[in-house]
Symmetry: C2
Subunit: 205 residues, 2 copies
DNA sequence: TTCGTCATTGACCGAATCGGTTAATACCAT
DNA sequence: ATGGTATTAACCGATTCGGTCAATGACGAA
């Protein structure tokens, strides 16, 4: 790709990236017209082909961009440093919501890209995504210390409950065109505190 | 449309319907080729145009089919007759999973169709979907009697928790190509019993 | 076998759309 | 004006699209 792309003002870069996410998330790779991406980005198709030598290069660039954006946001959220599962989940989802505010179609794009089996891109997508899926720590249960929680609680099911509800949250958000971030955040915060009250062992010093 | 479609053997009808769900769920209306639907259904494009006079008629037929399938399955599941919220949610999701076993792409199809804003179909889709969204009872909280649940539980948040987790379940299922119905059902059953133990007031006669 | 009926298809059409190229233009500092 | 850079309109050959229609196949009645 043409390195001059990175010299563009940040706002223009993001406009192009978001247009790519949007168009590729609504159609398969093959059926996504470069023309439409250019239109939604407010530039000409020719210019897009000036920065990216062809459709495939643009697509794979967007794939790598997803990884970059998410890992960076999760790191910045400090969710991995949280002292308990509730704070960890909250910080994690706040980070994801923040991402979706800036890149509304990033979730649908990555899901779509992952399951696209077009021979033109399939292998390259696997190659990019592989290291990312290996550290998929969310689905499997993280190490939890029983003494942090009320007695008689099945920690496996507790975590599954919270994980699935969080997934449901993100899914709902990804389906609505206009995202009310403030409200979503507030509602999830409520949810977390509800769980904390429900599951966590009360501290008595 | 040609009424002879309904004279076809059930299996062939479903093959065509599923092919339609599948193709339309992977691309926008305009970018979904009728040819591909015919291929996946194992018939010729000409025959498809014999039963449905054009692409739009086929699409709108599928839209109505979604409504028919879901309302019928939910009614048959007797989830509305359940005596408590836990059984109700369980029966409701069992019904939805059953649908997805027969029509794996129905969820993605209906979501996609709902948000497609192609002027060719937009207005007709709204017209079909409108009465269906009005009785959207799941998102809003159903009437719950506090004396059925443990004290101190915020019933609003309790329901939101269960609703979101169920959504997360369905979303996960709709994303995986091969659906292990048995396992999914079993896991959700576990989840329900976990909630019942957690939320429901113990009966002492 | 022959005929007639009806389901089904291959071949075809004009129009539209695709990814990609290129020569020309707009813009701007000197 | 000049030169260089960012950006585009116009264009290309190839492909794909929705839709049509004459031809084919299957099959039972005669």
């Amino acid at each position: 790709m043409n390195e001059k792309f990175f010299d563009l003002p940040q706002e223009k870069q993001e406009r192009i990236i978001n247009a790519g996410f949007r168009v590729f998330s609504r159609n398969s790779y093959k059926k996504s017209p470069v023309q439409q991406i250019a239109d939604e980005a407010g530039i000409s198709k020719s210019l897009l082909f000036f920065y990216f030598k062809n459709k495939k290069e643009l697509f794979l660039f967007l794939m790598k961009k997803v990884e970059e954006i998410t890992t960076q946001a999760l790191l910045a959220s400090k969710c991995y440093e949280a002292s308990n599962i509730f704070d960890m989940m909250y910080l994690g989802l706040v980070a994801k919501v923040g991402i979706m505010k800036d890149y509304p179609d990033i979730t649908n794009f990555s899901v779509k890209a992952y399951y696209d089996d077009d021979p033109d891109i399939r292998d390259d997508v696997r190659k990019i995504v592989q290291p990312y899926t290996k550290l998929e720590t969310n689905r499997s249960i993280p190490p939890l210390d029983p003494k942090d929680f009320k007695e008689g609680i099945d920690l496996r099911l507790m975590y599954r409950d919270m994980y699935l509800a969080s997934e449901g949250y993100i899914w709902q958000m990804s389906q609505t065109s206009v995202i009310d971030v403030k409200k979503m955040m507030q509602e999830y915060k409520e949810m977390i505190e509800f769980w904390r009250e429900l599951y966590a062992r009360k501290e008595d010093k």
